[in-house]
């Protein structure tokens, strides 16, 4: 438990806290949908391609 959290009433012995975490955890445990993973992959690949293109330019003495 983090410092200063003892009084929030949502700790390990709290019924409300436990239910909140159970509900939240049930969504977390569903995993990440493929479409989101694909999006991240595309963004990362697009960026890598851009970086490569810039490297190519500077190698040819451009910019």
């Amino acid at each position: 438990m983090q410092a200063g959290r003892a009084d929030d009433g949502l700790g390990p012995n709290s019924d409300i806290g436990a239910r909140l975490r159970a509900l939240y955890g049930s969504v977390q445990d569903e995993g990440v949908p493929d479409q989101l993973l694909d999006l991240l992959e595309k963004l990362d690949n697009a960026e890598a391609a851009q970086v490569d293109a810039q490297k190519g330019k500077s190698a040819r003495g451009g910019e």
Partner: protein, 190 residues
């Protein structure tokens, strides 16, 4: 799957840290929108925003809080654009859960979801950020752009309200009034 490498040859940290945060970010999105499909759209918009702004993110600082801030701002800005009337009136987590929390009976969790939905938006997000997402008061206050004291009071009011609705306390609650309490709760339930 091919990983892009940064200059040190490691898979890009930004992407890796973003991936690690997605399940929690998505759970927060579900708590805000009340629907899985809307939540996934919101997370998708957030990922694109965050990616475009990644130069403004300082590596080594709290990426989770940064992403939650972007998602929350995005949610409220979309709400303002669309108008509140299109917001799902049921509130948080009301959709049927595909994975049911094992330690609670389904009626028990339905009641809890209804109770959460009765909270004002600011109190609901406060109690979720502190109680479930695992943020400190300082981080949660930063995410919601409010003072730490405001965050503490929202959490406290949310917790009291939830306890009132559910007739529970942190500890066992079988005092002399337990029976009349149950009757009262039953009369007020809907």
């Amino acid at each position: 799957m091919a990983e892009n490498k940064d200059v040190t040859g490691e898979p890009t940290t930004f992407k890796r840290e973003m991936l690690a945060t997605l399940p929690s970010l998505r759970a927060f999105a579900v708590s805000l929108t009340g629907k899985h499909d809307k939540a996934d759209d919101l997370v998708q918009d957030t990922v694109m925003k965050a990616w475009a702004k990644q130069s403004s993110f300082e590596m080594g600082t709290n990426i989770k809080a940064w992403l939650f801030t972007i998602l929350r701002n995005e949610f409220y800005s979309q709400m303002r654009k669309r108008g509140r009337e299109v917001q799902d009136s049921d509130g948080a987590f009301t959709e049927r859960l595909s994975v049911h929390p094992a330690q609670y009976g389904s009626m028990d969790m339905q009641d809890f979801k209804k109770a959460l939905a009765q909270l004002p938006d600011d109190q609901r997000e406060a109690v979720i950020l502190i109680g479930a997402s695992g943020f400190s008061y300082e981080e949660a206050a930063e995410i919601c752009s409010c003072a730490i004291g405001t965050m503490k009071s929202r959490v406290s009011r949310a917790r009291t309200r939830l306890q009132d609705i559910l007739q529970v306390t942190g500890e066992a609650d079988y005092g002399p009034d337990a029976v009349s309490t149950q009757v009262t709760t039953h009369n007020h339930s809907f």
